[in-house]
Amino acid sequence: MARTGTKTSGGRGARRSAAAPPAAVEERDATLSEAQRLDLYYWMRLTRSLEERLVNLYRQTKVVGGLFRSLGQEADAVGSAYALRREDVLSPLIRNLGSMLVKGATPVEILKQYMAKGDSPTRGRELNIHFGDTERGFIGQISPLGDMVPVMAGVTLSFKMRGQSRVGLVYVGDGATSTGAFHEGINFAAVQRCPLVVVVESNGYAYSTPTSKQTLAAQFVDKAPGYGIAAEQADGNDVIATYEATKRAVDRARRGEGVTLVELVTYRRKGHAEHDNQSYVPAGEIERWERENDPITRYLARLRNEGVRDDALAAIDARVAREIDEATDIAERSGVPDALDALVGVYADPPAERPLWYREGQSAVVDVHERAQGWGTYDAPARGAD
C-alpha cells in the first residue's frame, strides 16, 4: 500500500482527544507558483468571510434555516479541492463551502441558497450549500451521510467506462465512515478501480459525538488496507500539506491506479450548526485550536515568511470584502420562490404536478401571520423585524 504524507503531525493523538493541536510543520513547497499560493489564500479568506457574513444575516433572521460553519477547516476544504482540474468532479460535505468555491460556486449563489431565494441554485428547494452543478464539477450532497460515496463511485465509473481522464473526489466526515453507504461505496469503487479520491475530514466531532465513539480504529487511514486501496494522511490545517496529499491521490487516480483514502486531520471549532452550544466540548479545547492552530493564521505566517508582501495580502482581503458586499446586495434583492414552482420538475415527464383541488387558482396560501416565528426570516420584512 502506498501510504505517504504521514510525516505531518496531527495524527492519532490530536484527533483522538481533539485536545492537542498538531504542531505547525511548515515546509517550503516549490510546486505551486506564488500566484497559486495567493489563490489558496483568497479561497480560504473568501470562505471564512462569507461565513461571517452569513452569521450576520442569520442573526438578522435572513437565513431561513440552519447555518453550518467550516471555521478552522478552511484549509482542508480549499487545499484538497485545489488539487482537482476543471473537468474533475467533487461532492462536498456540509463543511466544504471552500471546496465548492474553488470549484466555481459563487458567493451570491451561497447567499441566495441560505436565504431561500427564488433564483437560488435550487430555487428554494434545498438548504444551505446543498446544491451542485455538473458543468462546473460539483455534485450536491444530501443529508443522509455516506450516500455520496456510492454516487461518486458511479460518477467515476462513468469516467472509466468512457475512457475519460477525469477524477472524482468525495468528502466524508469522521461520522460518515460509520455508515453502510461509506463502506459499500468505497468497496465498490475499489473493486472497479474507479478514479476516486475519498477524503475523510477528521474534525473531532460528528454533531456532538467524539471520534472515539465513532470508531476504534486508531486513525482513518488504517481502514484503507482493508479495502486494498492507497492512503494519504495530512495535517488538514496546513493548506499546502493538504493540497500535496490530495494531489498525490488525484494523480494516482488519473493514472488508473484506483481509489485513495485521504485523511485530513483538522478540528471543528463551531458546533454542528449555529444553534449548537458545544456543551459537550472540553473546556479550553476550542480556544486552544483557535489560538495555536488556525489554518489562515498559519498560512499567513508562512506566506509572509516566503516573502509575500502585506499589500498583496491586503489587496486580497479588500477584494474578498468587496465581492461579499456586492453578492449580499444582489442576493438580498432577489425575491422568494413562486409557490407554484413547488410542483414543477419532480419528473422530466410529466413536467409538473397539478395543484390539489383546494389549491386550484391559488399562488400563495399561508398568510404571513400564520407562519411560526421560528421559521425565521422568510417573512421577517413583513414583521418589521429587520
Binding site: G132, T134, G140, M161
Partner: protein, 325 residues
C-alpha cells in the same frame, strides 16, 4: 413469429436496448458470468463484455448509488436486484437520493432497478416480496409491474429510455409460465397506461402482475357459473397510475374489486379506492372491495403461503358479493 417467455422478453429488451444505446449498461450481483439468479441476463456478458455487464459486490446501496452517479453523467444503468426483496437495503438511496435528485438538484437520474418479485413460488419471507407500495408512495420514482411477456419487453424498453428512475418489478411466477408473441419493430409500451385484459359489463376487477391471471380465471368461472360479465383492468404502471382507465371502467360497470398480491394495509388497493371515491363516487352501485394478501410476512410452507396469498376462489367469492350488493 414464435412465442417467447416473459423472462426471455425481458432479456430481449436488454439486448435490444444495449445494442441501440452504448450508454446502457447492466450491473448487479451474479449477472455476468453466471447470467443472473434466474438467467435473465444470460449471454449479455459474452456479447457486451465486463465494462457494460458488471458483476458487483453484494452491496445494494453501493450498486444503486453508483447507478445514480453514472446516470448523472449521462449513462443509462440497469440495476438488477437479485431478488426484489433486497431493494429494502437500497431504500435510503432510492427514496432520499435518487427520487429527489431532479427536484432538489436538477440532476437527471435515468436508471432502471429491476428484479424478480412476488410469491406463489414457495420462496419464503425473503424471496417472495412485493415491496412496490413504498416506492409508489415516493414522489420522483416511477413503478411498473407487467403481467404479459409483451408488456415485460415493451415496458422495460420504455423504462430504460425514460429520463427518470423506473423501478421494474418482474413477477418470478410468470417468468417461464407466461409466453407471448412479440410485436415487430421497436416495441415500446408507454409508462402510465393500463391495459384492458378482458372486457365486461357487470363488474370490474382492477389488478396487476400475477393476480391478473387470478382475475382472468375468476372472470371465466363467473361467466360460466353465474353468467356475469367481468372486466379486468391490468394496471401495468403503478406510478403513475392510469386514472383515466380506472375512471372509465368504474363508470362502465359501477362495481369495482381491486386485487393485489401485496399485503393489505397501505397497499395499492387503498389508494385506488380513495381515488375512485373522490372521482367516481356517484357512479358506484356498491362499495369498492379488495382482495389482497393477509398482513403477515410471507411463509414458506405451501399450505401457509396458499392461505396468505389471494387465490382465484377468493376473487370469485368477492366478485359474487359485489355483484349481489
Amino acid at each position: 413469429m414464435a412465442e417467447i417467455t416473459y423472462l426471455e422478453a425481458i432479456r430481449e429488451a436488454l439486448f435490444e436496448e444495449m445494442e441501440r444505446d452504448a450508454d446502457v449498461f447492466c450491473l448487479g450481483e451474479d449477472i455476468g458470468a453466471y447470467g443472473g439468479a434466474f438467467k435473465v441476463t444470460d449471454g449479455l456478458l459474452a456479447k457486451y463484455g465486463e465494462s457494460r455487464v458488471i458483476d458487483t459486490p453484494i452491496s445494494e446501496i453501493g450498486i444503486v448509488g453508483a447507478a445514480a452517479g453514472a446516470a448523472h453523467m449521462g449513462m443509462r444503468p440497469v440495476v438488477e436486484m437479485q431478488f426484489i426483496d433486497f431493494i429494502a437495503n437500497a431504500y435510503d438511496m432510492l427514496t432520499n437520493y435518487v427520487a429527489t435528485a431532479r427536484y432538489r438538484a436538477f440532476l437527471p437520474c435515468p436508471m432502471v432497478v429491476r428484479g424478480p418479485s412476488g410469491g406463489y413460488v414457495r420462496g419464503g419471507p425473503f424471496h417472495s416480496q412485493n415491496p412496490e407500495a413504498g416506492f409508489v408512495h415516493t414522489p420522483g420514482l416511477k413503478v411498473v409491474y407487467p403481467s404479459t411477456a409483451e408488456d415485460a419487453k415493451g415496458l422495460l424498453k420504455a423504462a430504460i429510455r425514460d429520463d427518470d428512475c423506473v423501478l421494474f418489478f418482474e413477477h418470478k411466477y410468470l417468468y417461464r409460465r407466461i409466453k407471448g408473441e412479440m410485436p415487430g419493430g421497436d416495441h415500446v409500451v408507454p409508462i402510465g397506461k393500463a391495459r384492458l385484459a378482458r372486457e365486461g359489463d357487470d363488474l370490474s376487477i382492477i389488478t396487476y402482475a400475477a393476480t391478473v391471471y387470478k382475475a382472468l380465471e375468476a372472470a371465466e368461472q363467473l361467466e360460466r357459473e353465474d353468467g356475469l360479465s367481468v372486466e379486468v383492468l391490468d394496471l401495468r404502471s403503478l406510478a403513475p397510475l392510469d386514472d383515466d382507465a380506472i375512471d372509465a371502467t368504474v363508470k362502465k360497470t359501477n362495481r369495482v374489486l381491486i386485487v393485489h398480491e401485496d399485503t393489505r394495509t397501505g397497499g395499492l388497493a387503498g389508494e385506488i379506492t380513495a381515488r375512485i371515491n373522490e372521482r367516481c363516487f356517484e357512479w358506484l352501485d356498491a362499495p369498492v372491495l379488495r382482495v389482497t394478501a393477509h398482513d403477515v410476512p410471507l411463509p414458506y410452507a405451501p399450505s401457509l403461503e396458499d392461505f396468505v396469498l389471494p387465490q382465484t376462489a377468493d376473487v370469485v367469492l368477492a366478485a359474487r358479493r359485489l355483484a349481489a350488493y
